[in-house]
């Protein structure tokens, strides 16, 4: 009971923090569904960071972590309340006629994904191999241990003690509140994060492009059923996909809706930082997102604006990254991908053309069979864009999700080329999951650049309007 109550409080904490940073009037506001969709992920991220800082680093009892989170909730709620009195209302999204059958298809797809997830969790409550050999194991170490050296010991190097702790920390925190280990609460954490991976892109596209495209965006994300399966397997890849999607979506929203202020940009940075606190690939995403934010500019004026808006984004990233770096340099042993070879050996891998060739064909193969989608997504998107065409007023911000995705994939490609492990084994065991990390963000990018086909009455957002003048 305690764990469920704390989980609800973490969602409220996430929402209060979002409202404190990105204020809106006291009554329900147009962007509140987006705020609420990101709240579980952000609340869990904040809870995990507090748990790590107070319990693992400062060796405080769990009760102190609960008190600190309660104080933060009070402070965030107070700030949100005060700021709401002077906050401008959110810009409403475009309105358009959406056929009822499309809502029905979304409802059926969501219901099937939900039931599938429940059945998979019920059949394997401890998850699949990586879940119990890495993530749940680390949560057990944190929950059961009276010291915090053993969990990161190189004596159990196969558990990847250098992997970051967002999921194990959040789970251990919830177990402490229940006083016992419950796999149902682990499944609930995964389910909430998986839901954010669909809901945040849905509400972002709904606010920026209209309901019709938002429904198609959510349907397309759900069509990669591997995401549901991996999420129910309690792997950290679905949570990482959620944080990547939240970061990218809030950044685009913040850039396209300048009236929202720096709040969404800071929250985007925070979500990117949480991605780095979820899996090592998230560190690369922090760079990908920051690079995409600067590269996707459509003129010198836009570049100056981007440099200015980069400040809250980078502040959000650094806030969490400081914790990640403390973990990496003070507690965790070095990563198996970087510590097992000299510079000369690594260099020799990067000049081996065969490694590029093998990695390239593995990527091509995975693109064609990706995610267990009935038809390869490459074909689906090609047909979609050929039929509906691109938007006429494409700003740099709209291209940002696809740019961040491309940079992230280029980074993954380079990591594969330089991996010290057997390349074929590494590609076979990880590539399908790695591509899932960017799937929700990439899909969001496709629908942000697609022409509106639902006759939405466009309400030009300030940034877009200015660029057109």
């Amino acid at each position: 009971m305690g764990a469920w109550l704390l989980l609800i409080l973490l969602i409220v904490l996430g929402f209060a923090c979002v409202r404190a940073v990105w204020p809106a009037p006291r009554v329900w506001s147009a962007a509140d569904p987006l705020r609420l969709a990101g709240a579980p992920a952000l609340g869990l991220g904040i809870g995990s960071c507090f748990y790590f800082a107070l319990r693992v680093v400062l060796h405080q009892p769990p009760a102190i972590v609960f008190v600190a989170l309660a104080l933060l909730l009070g402070a965030a709620g107070g700030i949100a309340w005060v700021r709401s009195s002077s906050a401008a209302p959110d810009a409403p999204g475009p309105r358009g006629a959406v056929p009822l059958w499309l809502w029905a298809v979304l409802g059926i797809s969501v219901l099937m994904a939900l039931l599938t997830s429940l059945m998979l969790s019920g059949a394997a409550p401890h998850g699949e191999w990586d879940a119990w050999s890495i993530w749940n194991l680390r949560a057990r170490f944190l929950f059961r241990a009276q010291e915090f050296v053993s969990p990161f010991s190189s004596a159990i190097e196969w558990t990847h003690p250098d992997y970051p702790l967002l999921i194990p920390g959040a789970v251990a925190l919830l177990w402490h509140s229940a006083g016992a280990e419950s796999m149902r609460i682990v499944a609930a954490v995964e389910f909430l994060l998986l839901s954010s991976a669909v809901a945040v892109p849905f509400f972002t596209v709904r606010l920026l492009r209209g309901t019709g495209l938002a429904i198609l965006c959510a349907l397309t994300i759900l069509s990669a059923t591997s995401l549901v399966r991996i999420g129910a397997s309690l792997y950290a890849d679905a949570p990482l996909a959620a944080f990547i999607a939240i970061a990218g979506c809030l950044l685009v929203y913040g850039l396209e809706t300048e009236s929202a202020g720096p709040g969404p940009l800071f929250l985007a940075g925070l979500a990117a930082g949480f991605a780095a606190w979820t899996k090592n690939e998230g560190l690369l995403f922090c760079l990908s997102l920051a690079a995409a934010q600067l590269f996707c500019v459509s003129g010198f004026g836009e570049l100056r604006r981007r440099v200015r808006t980069a400040i809250p984004l980078i502040a959000g990233i650094i806030l969490v990254l400081a914790l990640v770096l403390h973990f990496k340099f003070r507690l965790a042993p070095s990563n198996d991908l970087v510590n097992s070879a000299s510079a000369a050996v690594i260099r020799s891998r990067f000049v081996d053309f065969n490694r590029y060739w093998a990695t390239f064909w593995a990527f091509v193969g995975e693109f064609l069979t990706f995610g267990n989608v009935l038809v390869p997504p490459v074909i689906v998107f090609s047909v979609w864009l050929a039929l509906v065409r691109l938007r006429e007023s494409l700003t740099g911000a709209a291209l940002l999700p696809l740019a961040a995705t491309a940079i992230q994939l280029a980074g993954y490609f380079a990591v594969y080329v330089g991996t010290p492990n057997d390349l074929d084994w590494q590609l076979n065991t990880s590539l399908p999951r790695l591509l899932l990390h960017v799937w929700p963000l990439a899909v969001t990018g496709i629908f942000l650049i697609s022409r509106d086909i639902f006759d939405s009455s466009p309400q030009l957002r300030p940034a877009v309007a200015r660029s057109k003048e």
Binding site: L115, A123, R140, L219, T225, L374, V380, L387, I453
Partner: protein, 137 residues
């Protein structure tokens, strides 16, 4: 909406519905046949008594049947699951520690273990034993 746009929308909706539907049907078919207690929970339960005996920290060795081929995936999974069950004690896949947890599928006698230099501390049933390595003392 033009027929062209309607077609594009219907195609996307159909691909999504059929993809999620396919996994749903596969899992619905498999779920009723899944065992009531999953393998990890069952394995975990076998180690409950041993875990209650172990201190809150330390390192313990691990051994399994001598005939197990190197690189056997099932054996590797069982070793990982043993660590999962016995955390926060570190379980190292080596018999050269003072205390060693044995996870055997074939019958082993106290005498045969004694011949190899291990004293049986306690047997927990289902092939799970706690051994003391007399050479490591």
């Amino acid at each position: 909406m033009t027929p062209r746009n309607l077609g594009a929308t219907a195609c996307l909706a159909a691909v999504s519905l059929l993809s999620t539907g396919r996994l749903f049907i596969q899992v619905s078919d498999f779920y009723p046949k899944a065992p009531a207690v999953d393998g990890v929970t069952e394995f975990d339960g076998r180690f409950a008594a041993l875990r209650s005996l172990l201190p809150p920290k330390g390192i313990i060795g691990y051994m399994t049947d001598a005939e197990t081929p190197a690189g056997d995936v099932n054996a590797q999974a069982e070793y990982h699951l043993t660590q999962y069950a016995l955390a926060p004690v570190l379980v190292v896949n080596s018999a050269h520690h003072r205390f060693v947890v044995g996870n055997f599928h074939r019958t082993v006698t106290a005498g045969s273990l004694r011949d190899r230099g291990y004293k049986l501390v306690q047997s927990f049933g289902n092939g799970i034993v706690l051994l003391e390595n007399e050479k490591a003392q």
